[in-house]
Amino acid sequence: MPRTAAWLALLAAAAMVPLVIRSEYVIGTLTLMYFFAFVGQGWNILGGYAGQFSFGHALFFGIGAYTSSLCFLKLGLTPWVGMWLGAAVAVGVGLVTGHLSFRYGLRGAYFALVMLAFAEIFRVAATNWDFVGGSFGILVPLQGHAPRLFQFGDKRYFYYVILAMLLALTWAVARLERSRLGYQMIAIRENEAAADALGINPYRVKLAAMALSAAVTALGGAFYAQYFSYIDPAIGFGPANSIEILLRPIIGGAGTLWGPLLGALLLGLLGEGTRGLVKSYAGLHLMLYGVILMGAVVFLPRGVMGALRSLGVGAAERA
């Protein structure tokens, strides 16, 4: 199949990049691109497929980053294990926020705001709790090149780690899309009353989507903390992070497999392209994001994937 061949070629190219290109700048840019695609896909499970628009996914990101960093700092536990503990904690918190929201039928803007509020609670709590580093946050103690501790002397290792994580996630979401749970999530997004009439329990399906989404986003958060060896309350739980997480899947196409990846690619290229322009004005990139988001919502209400689909590309794929 030419399609499969094309994907394999792309994959091989991605795997080859660090061997061919020595530039730390290029590797770093691609690493962040994959990383944003990863957490974007995490958001996409709940916000895209299940249609429950979360405006506070930094909640899970921060939990993942803090849990893995704290487990290492306080207990000496390797972040390779700590990241899964972070995912587990995120699932637990996700189930609580999900229960409170979905049990009482919160939708749309109300659900989005509840998620934002929870993330803010965690941000304020982390800021004021010295045990977790207070407002300064946590510096992950560096051990040099220590692969078993998720620390690498060379950034190219991180490139491969996040590439592998992104591949595994893309494969898993492709499976999810074609599974019973995936169809039930889409059905609830498209029409909750009709889904209910067909034997789907909206509460349970939304909770399942929340759990998956929280776990993935937390794993992304743990990767971030290791990559930068640093996490603080604003980076972890802040609203700016929540926006970063949801921006790419929305621009790329929420509720599609390739949306978060496409969004990460476009925004990554754009970010690098305008870096020189933006460097001297702190916060200008956020304004730029705002403009892009508005443009995307107005001109591409279903993201780049939606636009491609209505042009007929991939029209047959759902048949």
């Binding site: 074609r178 599974s179 019973r180 169809y183 039930q184 889409i186 059905a187 498209e190 029409n191 009353a193 009709a194 889904a195 209910d196 009439a197 067909l198 034997g199 789907i200 329990n201 909206p202 509720g255 047959a316 759902r318 048949a319």
Partner: protein
């Protein structure tokens, strides 16, 4: 054998008594027509039976089991499915995927659900459209899709809310055949319908609602002679024609 037993079901919306002590039953293998003027409470009755509206009083039993007050998905899982008068397709999904969502009511496997969905599409004569996105269907076909999706949940009882109104005469005939086929497959059916010829020809019995009250329940032949039904709903011309 009685499959559905509705007893003294009542529902009030503000100052409007939408249902008032309605009692009726559906036998295994029966097609029951539910008719009455607009606003008579037909759709509210469906909503109260399928868990979308909580009745103020009365009870609904499915095969002897009390189902009053259960949420819609729990009622569907017990084998009672409905369609919506205002069609509610999943627009982003294809026709076969819409039906698969129904089929997942009885299986966890996507392959089994797809096979089951294709069978249902064949039965409802939608098979040639399986790959189309649901939002691209005409209103008539969307109504058929609504029916197919409910059928894919493998119900024992199917409640059809105006699946024929707004269809062309050919489509109506086709839908009548489809509904007969569903009954042959062992499903008992209640149909709300305004297309009189179709509902009279299709139903074993007809129940008539008027201002939330059940004013008659009898065979089609008896219904067209019923004085109260003629006054409330049918009017003289149709009654005259049938004589």
């Amino acid at each position: 054998m009685t499959l559905i037993e509705v007893r003294s079901l009542s529902k009030r919306f503000g100052g409007l008594q939408a249902l008032s002590e309605v009692s009726l039953s559906l036998a295994q293998g029966e097609i029951l027509g539910l008719i009455g003027p607009n606003g008579a409470g037909k759709t509210t009755l469906f909503a109260a039976v399928t868990g979308f509206v909580r009745p103020d009083g009365g009870s609904v039993r499915l095969d002897g089991q009390e189902i009053t007050g259960l949420p819609p998905h729990a009622i569907c899982r017990r084998g009672l499915a409905r369609t919506f008068q205002l069609v509610q397709p999943f627009p982003e999904l294809s026709v076969v995927e819409n039906v698969m969502v129904g089929a997942f009511n009885r299986t966890r496997s996507a392959a089994v659900a797809r096979r089951r969905a294709l069978e249902v599409l064949a039965l409802t004569r939608l098979a040639p459209l399986a790959g189309r996105p649901a939002h691209a269907l005409s209103i008539g076909l969307r109504k058929r899709l609504e029916l197919a999706r409910a059928l894919a949940t493998e119900p024992r009882v199917l409640l059809l809310d105006e699946v024929m109104s707004g269809l062309t005469p050919t489509e109506v005939d086709e839908t009548v055949e489809v509904i007969r086929g569903i009954r042959e497959a062992g499903v008992s059916i209640i149909v709300i319908e305004h297309v009189m010829a179709a509902v009279m020809g299709l139903s074993d019995r007809i129940a008539v609602l008027h201002h939330g009250e059940l004013i008659a329940a009898a065979t089609p032949a008896e219904i067209v002679q019923d004085r109260r039904v003629i006054d409330a709903y049918l009017g003289e011309p149709l009654a005259g024609k049938r004589e």
